[in-house]
């Protein structure tokens, strides 16, 4: 019974993960204001400032 509940939870977790599109690891996210984004050359990625590869 307990394992049945556990199995349902795993199935639910997978369904939620597939539905929401969760991926392992975190995606680096930030907010860039519109005026900055629209300024020519205004947006540089974090990677750029770190020097890229």
């Amino acid at each position: 019974m307990k394992f049945g509940v556990y199995a349902l939870m795993v199935l639910g977790l997978y369904a939620t993960s597939a539905w929401r599109g969760w991926e392992l690891g975190s995606t680096r996210r930030g907010l860039i204001p519109r005026d900055v984004r629209e300024a020519p050359g205004g947006y540089r990625s974090f990677g750029y400032w770190r020097g890229g590869k």
Binding site: F3, G4, Y6, A7, L8, V10, L11, L13, Y14, A15, S17, A18, W19, R20, G21, W22, E23, L24, G25, S26, T27, R28, R29, G30, L31, I32, P33, R34, R37, G41, Y43, R44, S45, F46, G47, Y48, G52, K53
Partner: protein, 642 residues
Amino acid sequence: MSGYEARCPSCGAAIVFSLGTTLLKVCEHCGSAVARKGADLEAYGKVAGLIPTPSVLALGVRGGYAGAPSFELVGRLQLDHGAGTWDEWLMAFAGDTWAWLAEAQGKFHYMGVAPLPPVPEFEDVRVGQTIDLGPPGTFVVTEVKTARFVTAQGELPFDVKPGSALHYADLSGPGGQFATLDYGTGSAAEALYVGREVALDELGMRGLPEAEDRRKRAAGESLACPQCGGPLEIRAPDQTQRVACPYCGSLLDATRDLAVLEALARVEVKPLIPLGAKGTLDGTEWTVIGFMERSVTVEGVRYPWQEYLLYEPGKGFRWLVLAKGHWSFVAPAHAGDVQTMTVASRYRDMHFKHFQGGGAVVDHVLGEFYWAVARGDRTESNDFVHPPHMLSSEQDGSEINWSFGTYTAPDEVWKAFRLPGGPPRPEGVAPHQPSPYTGRVRKAWSTALLATSILFAVYLALLIGGARQVHRQSVEIAPSAVPGAPEAAAFTEPFVVGRAGNLEVRVRAPVSNSWLYLDGALINEDTGEVSEFDVEVSFYSGRDSDGAWSEGGTEARRYLSAVAPGRYVMRLAPQWEAGRAVSGYDVEVRSRVPRLYQVVLAALALLMWPIVLSWRSMRFEMQRWSESDHAFSGSNDEEEEE
């Protein structure tokens, strides 16, 4: 019944053979055994007086059994095979037919005459041997002995002198049938009797004490030990053959006025359940009347266990066996119902695996016993298991007995007998201890496999209809561009992600022995949220002493987690190996892409518990079989149990 009247050749008194087929008659006047030899009579001399037995039957008692014509007890034969005397009553039916009613240890066996098939001679009959008795079926020999014709009363269907040694073999057949091969005084079988155990009440005998009265009569006699004077309460006086005094341990013969067979000064063991204690097991209140400690010795190490003899007048005897803190409730089993193979047995549609065999020795006895027990008695025992049951055989040279045990929780025994404190802590795993994993492993696997099937079905459904391409674009890199320079970066055309989900960014680039690295950013034009990612395409190939080789590919993917619906652009800043410029690349973006690794992780999470349970179950079985004569085979009884 046809009668034959004559004069006793010894005293001249009138004697009547009530059955035309009876050949021996004990004269009621002078006690001589008179044999009928054709038209003549011959006196064999006076027979000994009857040995007192607890029987409530008597000559002249009438009854009716199983729809057969009414019968009358017309003869009584007393036999002794050295371990006690028993009665055989001759039942005379109307029409000159007859049957035996054997009475021993409080049990009655109705045995009718059956056609005698070809059977082995007495010297060739062995305990445990199977013999085809024709229509009654195939029987197992359970006892091969020679009994002495002690005395008789009334008339008998054979012409044998009192005092003669009579050979016989008892057999057990299917469905609780019994059979006796009567070899008389020779080697060739003379008669076959087949029947079954009957309760006295089934025989419809008139004039006998009621069953309850009989039980009360047998409820207990108080005597004193002739060795130490200690009071002895005999709780099964009609069946007890041996009494071991609980005060001094002396072994007494209950069939001969408690004659001392072995004198001791002190009791060497103390039972955990006191003699006389009453406890309810299997719905019946049992009284502990005997206790014995037995052991086997393997490679110089003694392995003891204890057995408690339980008695209930209406149901007979049972055993409670204690070994290493594990208890078993044991009942007798009909040998004829056991199918034996080399390493297995079958009983009551259950398959038992052989567990252990060895020579068991009686070390200590206390209380009363229905057989002629003695310290040092040795039997060859074999145990077969089908948890929670154990089938055991015990065999000496002339007798084999089977028993059927059921594992009983120690607390249940303690509670049944209302014993103080707690039971001894069980050690290890008992041969027939039910596995705590029984049923759970199969159920866990069933649940896990069902859930995993659902999991893959969902994944398949998502794979077929889930993913959707939201953008595709080819990007050229100017020949003058410098790797990593802002000027080389490109923004994609805007694209719309319609539903929340992950996002797959797939990049294809014509790299060969070089690489292309993209520093990417997914920008939500509505909210300004930027999701950073990078992706590298690299492909190298060549040839060495092992032949051609390659590494990487011209395509790479990156997945972005939980991207919200909205309008997006991507900024892609390329870098490449100096001197190996890449002309451009293709980028494809797909939304809501099913991910196999998630299914695999979920499946592992589902299968983990059944795998753990299976492992634990296997460990339990390994521990169980480590004490056996057989190496652990890896088979799991619980699968058969289901």
